[in-house]
Symmetry: C2
Subunit: 510 residues, 2 copies
């Protein structure tokens, strides 16, 4: 009994937790209960509403079926269902007339019609563009069968049809009334919040990716959940995954939101919910770049820590500025304000350009560093145009030398990490190469047979691959920045169509 009691306590605890984290769930449940209670009062009606009382089950049934979490969903189901029921009523009355004309073949005709109606309604409902109205087709079919069957039994088609329809309408009306009047839950608001959350998740994810990359955080073993794209604990992964995965949720919410009447902040006929989804799509387009950058961290081929440190400040700056832009846009969406400055992207573009220039200057670091020593570099440049470029390059090479020769502090997490090693092709050379990088220069001189040459070449290949990985990361980051432009455009389109407040105009009256 104690065990049982503990279980009850645990379940209650969980239920309580759920209620606390989202009180709307409690309210929604109470609303459902209330709607049911209201309609079950019907059973106590006496004459002359005896009929109503007898069939009030239909109203209750409607509530259970139609009552949904958000108002949009409830409305779309009610209207769909109502339309379906009306159509079915009309059709079944017509069919009834027809079948009575048939005389003794009446039964056969009824049966055949049921088959035909069942077939066509089901077939039509499978057509892709009718998918949102699936529920309407179901109600249509139920109502048609019901009226036909009970009409046949009682001989009172019209009465049955009207009676049922009134009760269903009553059920729908009570559902809607309760749902809208008491603490309404709007799908549109949920969609709005989801978009804002996506912006923030991606910003967090972006910062996390850049930081982890710079701190050379490696996965000892990539969680298999990430490899098979399942939900995992990793916060960075979850950030962009939720953005990528929210498509279906957004579509569902949008389909409900378009049914909702203007309300609250969304005072406008035909509110452009579609643009929210579009904005979120543009955000997703950016998220794919963050995902690809995370791929650089997950990858087995890793750029050496020293090289990452060279680009440290630039990478970090781009990451921070990018996240800032995302947060700023998220806030603007939340406040429903237009952009108050034209130069939102200037900072991040500056940062990206700086990174790009740094890469350009240091591009020799990104290719095979052994063969491309800095000492040799100015020689060639002077060949091409010594008069003009000479001074400039001299300056450049000096500053580079300083950067390169200083001992870069390598974060501790890098040392002693296991390699991810799954890939047989690179695995053999990989474990080796990380350690060899430091002493490879010596080997070079000591051994001199063909085997070493071969090994040496492989080693270099791996080394250059690992350096290229840094290039990849940077290019992806720059591409991410480029995609922000498109995001801002989507936002502007949304802020125009949705008539967001202009923060500049608001300040003027002061």
């Amino acid at each position: 009994i104690l065990k049982w009691w503990n279980k009850v306590k645990r379940v209650t605890g969980k239920a309580w937790e759920m209620g606390r984290s989202d009180p709307r769930k409690i309210i929604f449940s109470a609303k459902t209960g209330l709607a049911l209670t209201l309609l079950s009062l019907l059973i106590f009606l006496r004459e002359p509403f005896k009929d109503m009382s007898l069939y009030c089950v239909w109203a209750i049934l409607t509530v259970v079926v139609v009552f949904e979490f958000s108002i949009g969903a409830t409305l779309s189901k009610s209207l769909n269902g109502g339309f379906g029921a009306l159509l079915a009523g009309a059709l079944s009355l017509g069919m009834a007339e027809l079948s009575t004309l048939a005389g003794k073949w009446e039964e056969l005709i009824i049966i055949i019609f049921i088959f035909i109606v069942g077939f066509s309604a089901t077939y039509t409902k499978l057509y892709p563009s009718f998918k949102p109205y699936e529920y309407g087709f179901r109600v249509f079919l139920i109502t048609y069968c019901f009226i036909t069957v009970s009409g046949y039994q009682t001989g009172e088609f019209v009465d049955t049809a009207i009676n049922r329809f009134v009760l269903i309408a009553l059920g729908a009306a009570v559902s809607l009334g309760v749902n809208i009047c008491i603490y309404p839950i709007w799908a549109g608001e949920d969609l709005h919040n989801l978009v804002i959350k996506n912006f923030r998740d991606l910003a967090t994810s972006l910062e996390g990716v850049v930081n982890n990359y710079l701190h050379c955080v490696e996965y000892k073993k990539v969680p298999s959940k990430i490899l098979t794209y399942q939900a995992a604990e990793d916060p960075i992964y979850n950030g962009y995954r939720s953005v990528v995965e929210s498509t279906s949720k957004e579509d569902a919410l949008m389909n409900f939101a378009v049914w909702e009447p203007p309300h609250g902040h969304y005072k406008m006929r035909k509110y452009p919910w579609k643009n929210y989804v579009k904005l979120s799509g543009a955000l997703r387009h950016c998220a794919f770049m963050v995902m690809a950058m995370h791929g650089c961290i997950l990858s087995e081929i890793q750029a050496p820590a020293e090289k990452r440190q060279v680009f440290r400040s630039e990478l970090r700056r781009v990451g921070c500025e990018g996240a800032k832009v995302l947060r700023e846009l998220g806030n603007k969406v939340q406040k429903m304000e237009k952009l108050d400055r034209e130069d939102l992207l200037d900072e991040v573009h500056d940062a990206a350009e700086e990174l790009q220039q740094k890469i350009d200057k240091k591009s020799y670091l990104l290719v095979n560093s052994e063969t491309w020593e800095i000492g040799n570099r100015p020689i060639e440049d002077e060949e091409s145009d010594p008069q003009q470029e000479g001074k400039f390059l001299e300056h450049k090479s000096r500053s580079e030398a300083v950067l390169d020769l200083r001992t870069v502090e390598v974060p501790h997490s890098w040392d002693g990490n296991l390699t991810l090693g799954n890939n047989p092709a690179t695995n053999a050379s990989q474990n080796m190469s990380r350690k060899q990088i430091s002493w490879s220069a010596h080997v070079y001189h000591h051994k001199s047979n063909a085997e070493v040459k071969e090994g040496q070449q492989q080693l270099k290949t791996f080394e250059s691959a690992s350096a290229l990985s840094l290039t990849t990361f940077s290019s992806l980051l720059i591409e991410f920045v480029a995609r922000l432009q498109n995001l801002v455009e989507s936002f502007e389109e949304l802020s125009e169509t949705a008539n967001f407040a202009d923060p500049l105009e608001q300040q003027e009256p002061l």
Copy 2:
């Protein structure tokens, strides 16, 4: 009237088209019609089954609600509903006993109980892990209210409950019987086919991306649908998009498939449908790389065509081998065979390594090409170890020179293309730079003020960025190859747990 007739013709045409492309839809509709017809025969029953006949609507209602496309869905709905109805029946009978004890407070108690039951059922159903059983909760609620209300009216709780239950069970039984016996449609098979389709889509997409990249296909204007991640016409985009987007479909199918009894090729209790979804997740992990590669094509920063041509054969080989592996795996999944050779990945790994080595050898092409001219290269190398490397490098540099100096045939689509130009930061320099590349060397000598130096630097920055884009593409391709390993492992796990046939064993008896 003619207009109306045309419309009818068009609609019929569409419906016919849908039926031809997926005949299962026609069969399913006919099955629904048949089930409805069978049950509506009940209304012609005479004594002693008058009761059955009177309430046969309940059986019809069950069919309409429960009859789903796949058997798994029908089964899960029926069982869920059945369980819900049973529980509700038991509970409502208990409550009825209780309320009669209350005497004159009976009505009040009934109402209060309806509220409590409605509240708790709705609240429980919102708990995330109960989501698959949502339908069961609905039936529970409907049944509870129905039995309570009609029991109160007639005073015959037990009779009502049993009568309804028998009819609902009959409806469910007919649905299941018709659905399973006549041309069954299995969710598991759909899932299986979806996974196979995903493999093929991705293979096509991969080939398309690599080919387009090598042919320098550029988007005159990136379709805004791609930028906001909506469905678009682009075949490459659609290939990987459908792989990425199939998550929710797979989950739904899996949830149905687990309800299905062993059948056809899937003769096994607890068939590991989960592993199919996992395999598809691993495939998705690869698809993200293809997506990122496509991003290189969509990007504004494009590698010059000549440089792409240098890596042409290697890139193409990796692309082809990668697609081959994907197709091979897809076929294995289709035939439900284990892998018949260990070296499935050898070819593609070889290809990737070759690409990697080529990149290594030509890495100077990937950085700023102006400052890193080929003529200067051997000089430095010889410095580091002239005795040993000399001969090797001489050979290397000669072959490179040949490759570089030959006039590379630039595909026509490259010339005269508009730039994508959206990004204000690079836009200014970008339009210019493509054209300037050829004559920049001249300008270099003619002007000599600070402004030109600045412009020159920007130009170089862009150039190096464009070359790095090629690096990015290659690294992503190599990372894609690395991820194939994980895909193969997922496949092996599936082939073990699902007991795929071993093609080697099958051949032995011969």
